[in-house]
């Protein structure tokens, strides 16, 4: 049992790729070892921006011996009656490169069978080629070449350490030959190189040379400093910084007091995005400190590094101050006018046009939600203005947030400014009516615009975020219990657009798929079958989400009720027969007895909506007996046709509640 180390060293790899590389290497190694039948305890992959190391713990010294049983043709085919090999039998042995065979029984038949053995091999003999194939197959998120055409890899590869215990296992990759020599931290310590004497000492030796090669170790150092100071931090930023360092050392900086008057979101964005520092957000408040995670700190240079970083941040925040002052000297109305010059989408006019489409939509949604209509329309009118503000042009992630701040400054109501602030939240704020009206208007317009313009999401292709927008709309309508049908919703969107009507049905069914997802995940019915029964019914586009949710959860609650099974069987029988109907159902053409028997159902069909399964009782009371006593396919074609039409009408009524065909799998299958 030995440890194998394979360290790949390179020029600085982008931090964002490293976690993915680590995960991929680990799974490639496990697959390769399994294929080679080499046992191991664990594959550990660690690394920094400058190296990725695989440590295979508890590796067997040799691969396992593998025996295969190969079954050939049946005895009568493999052997002659004289018990000699036939050409087929000989062919089997030749094909598998074996000479020995036995005859074995399987059940009542006998076959020619051969056993082959892949012999065990010393791990050290095969490891080099396994390692080469593992690293050669790494998928490259970005690829480059260097020098005289070396590559491709993410960045130039500089060295490889390959050791099984203390024994060098030669590996060659992209023109680099492995050895036992690693590079230490680029700037810390006095050595540039170090020899790894044994794979088991790898982590320690690097640590002695200022490389903490374990991501978890570096993460702890940074997180401890953040936690100790009760700082709320962005997890994505933490992960990035973990891989931007080999020897992280926290240094605290302070924001100049004149910059603390700038809008906090802009300061935070500037500190995080541009400089990768952690702003000290404590209990939701931005304080005047920030945490720099530097990579080359010594007692001698700490003050210099701190001063340098401070002056960089100062310059950045000076820029922010410049934009802030410029923007405040501008007017929102002026920005809104400029939106006419910005193309929204080729073929769909300007952002200004989009705003003009959003305003009536916001009004309509406001009426549905019960939001203030004037505020909602005003919010829509201003909502995109910050797009042309200097701050948002410089820091695009602040779109919406800055709009809210500027709206408030220019005297808009708090409902209006708050709606703009939250416009791009991933979940629509349903607790604030104006917010919801605005966000619904924006996203509905995005969805129908993209459909009309042919930008319909396929597979992973969804550059405009149409899926996300559609999902947010349907989820908000559902949570707000707005009794609106998806047909009315989508149609309202297309009304404003004035083009692309031919895509309307496609768009409705796209929305319906979001509804399905929401019902399944949003506490309506975790069971897919009742949800499908409701969502897939032909009538669903004309039912409100409220009705559909109600039906689905009702079905879910009754899924094991024996009466549901009876109803389902009845309805399916009715609808399958009714499918071949072509004429109109005329009750007066039934004979008196039949008419009397069916009367409760005829009444029921003319009655009001179906709300629960209890409303189907009349059907289960009447129809089984009716089928028992009546030959639907009567030889008299008029009678037959009238009966079939009756069944079709019953079936249509039932579909107003659900598609019962979809339910039957949940009930153990319906009778035909």
């Amino acid at each position: 049992m030995t440890i194998y180390l394979l360290e790949l060293g390179f020029e600085e790899i982008p931090a964002r790729f490293i976690p993915g590389l680590i995960a991929e290497l680990r799974s490639r190694w496990m697959d390769a070892l399994n294929t080679a039948h080499i046992e191991y305890q664990d594959v550990e992959v660690v690394g920094t921006y400058r190296r990725i190391a695989t440590l295979i713990h508890g590796m067997a010294d040799e691969s396992a011996q593998i025996s295969h049983r190969i079954r050939g043709p049946i005895r009568s085919v493999a052997f002659t009656e004289a018990n000699e090999l036939t050409p087929a039998g000989a062919g089997f042995l030749r094909k598998n490169n074996v000479t020995d065979f036995v005859v074995e029984a399987e059940g009542d038949k006998h076959y020619i069978v051969s056993y082959t053995t892949i012999p065990s091999r010393p791990t050290v003999d095969i490891l080099g080629s396994i390692a080469t194939s593992v690293v050669s197959g790494i998928s490259l998120p970005i690829a480059m070449k260097w020098g005289d055409g070396y590559g491709p890899f993410i960045r130039p590869v500089h060295w490889i350490v390959s050791l099984l215990g203390d024994r060098h296992v030669p590996v060659e990759f992209l023109g680099i030959r492995s050895g036992a020599m690693t590079r230490t931290h680029r700037f810390l310590g006095s050595y540039r190189e170090a020899t790894i004497t044994s794979a088991s000492d790898y982590v320690t030796i690097l640590n002695d040379h200022y490389v903490n090669v374990l991501p978890a170790g570096r993460r702890d150092i940074i997180r401890n400093e953040l936690d100790l100071n009760r700082i709320h931090y962005d997890v994505t930023l933490l992960e990035e910084v973990v891989f931007l360092t080999e020897w992280p050392v926290p240094i605290w900086g302070a924001i100049d007091s004149d910059h603390m008057t700038l809008p906090a979101p802009a300061v935070v964005e500037c500190i995080q995005k541009n400089q990768k520092y952690f702003p000290a957000i404590i209990d939701g408040q931005l304080t005047d400190r920030y945490l720099i995670i530097a990579d080359s700190v010594t007692p001698a240079n700490e003050a210099i590094i701190k001063r340098g970083n401070h002056s960089v941040l100062r310059a950045r925040l000076e820029d922010v101050k410049f934009f802030w002052n410029e923007d405040r000297n501008n007017s929102y109305d002026n920005w809104v006018k400029k939106l006419d010059a910005i193309v929204y989408q080729k073929g769909l006019g300007s952002v200004g046009d989009k705003v003009r489409r959003m305003m009536p939509l916001a009004d309509r949604f406001a009426q549905w939600i019960g939001a203030d209509r004037v505020d909602s329309v005003r919010a829509a009118q201003l909502s995109k203005g910050d797009l042309v503000s200097q701050m948002v042009q410089e820091l695009p992630k602040l779109q919406g947030v800055m709009g809210g701040i500027y709206a408030q400054l220019s005297g808009e109501s708090s409902a209006v400014s708050s709606a703009i602030t939250h416009l791009y939240d991933s979940d629509i704020r349903i607790d604030q009516p104006v917010c919801a009206a605005l966000a619904l208007a924006d996203r509905l317009d995005t969805v129908v615009s993209c459909f009309a313009n042919g930008l319909i999401p396929t597979g992973s292709q969804d550059p405009w975020g149409v899926r996300r927008a559609a999902l947010a709309v349907v989820r908000a309508l559902h949570r707000l219990h707005i009794p609106m049908t998806l047909t009315d919703l989508v149609s309202m969107g297309f009304d404003g657009l004035g083009t692309g009507r031919d895509k309307q049905d496609l768009c409705i069914s796209f929305m319906m798929d979001r509804a399905r997802y929401i019902f399944e995940t949003d506490g309506v019915g975790s069971d897919m079958i009742p949800v499908s029964a409701v969502v897939d019914s032909v009538i669903s586009p004309h039912r409100s989400l409220v009705q559909m949710a109600h039906s689905a959860s009702h079905l879910q609650s009754r899924i094991s009720d024996p009466r549901l099974k009876l109803i389902t069987e009845t309805v399916i029988r009715v609808s399958r027969l009714g499918r071949s109907a072509s004429g109109r159902f005329d009750p007066s053409r039934l004979d008196t007895n039949e008419r009397a028997g069916l009367d409760p159902v005829i009444q029921w069909m003319a009655g009001t909506d179906i709300h629960t399964l209890d409303d189907f009782h009349v059907l289960t009371d009447v129809m089984p007996a009716y089928f028992e006593s009546t030959l639907i396919m009567d030889p008299d074609l008029d009678i037959r046709s009238n009966r079939l039409s009756f069944l079709r009408d019953v079936s249509t009524k039932c579909e107003l509640f659900a598609d019962f065909e979809k339910l039957s799998p949940a009930l153990g299958g319906a009778q035909n």
């Binding site: 020029e11 260097w146 005289d148 055409g149 400089q275 530097a294 002056s311 960089v312 100062r314 310059a315």
Partner: protein, 288 residues
Amino acid sequence: MTRSFQDIILTLQTYWSDRGCVVLQPYDTEKGAGTMSPHTFLRVLGTTPWNVAYVEPSRRPTDGRYADNPNRLQHYFQFQVVLKPSPFDIQDLYIGSLESLGISRQDHDIRFVEDNWESPTLGAWGVGWEVWLDGMEVTQFTYFQQCGGLDLNPISVEVTYGLERLAMFIQNKTSVYDIIWKESRNGLVTYGDIYRQSEVDYCHYNFTHASVDRLVTQFELAEAECNELIAHKLVSPAYDFCLKCSHTFNLLDARGAISVTERMAYILRIRKLAKKCAEAYLAHPVEV
């Protein structure tokens, strides 16, 4: 004694000259970056090795701030180094150049942070880093992969120092205008003494007074000239007119005279010229 702006240039020139680079002079046509000099754009094409260093004045009209902003300029200087093929120890060579400027690796936090580069107008892209010196971006590092829409082999590496940033760092200045250009016989001459007024004047020109109609005409004239010169296989003058198109486009952009859709169309027109120049150069590359 503080290292002056011109000392920084002289030091870098000496450093790279000692490492086998041809030290050239700035190219005399307006351009947005040192990459656009034919000493980079054309020479990275083909297989002939090429090692060069030069200062390049760069113009980015939209970046002007009427000299109000201490960090942004519409005219500034780059120190450009191009090594073809890229040497294996280029990062160490670069760090050595910082040390020649008195920036010791022991005293600072130097980082190579991902920054991939693409120039749609040149049909060029590469991968690399921006170099952070205690958090300040002082250099762009790019391994060119494509230029003029053509795959490159061997690969060139381009190291572009932002001279003003570097000088502010070395001289510990918070405004670009306070950079000491030279302690001359008549006393201190600052960057601001030399460039502040022209910076303001150019901003007025770029943002307000540049004639849109005449710029549009200039663009078309330069484009026509470029095409005609390519037909005569006169690569160098043709490329000058491609650069003129690019700068004219930047001016139109600063004037706010280009809509989003027009923008793309202009970029494509310039890229077409750049590609033709690259192809024409490759048909008759200069041997060194």
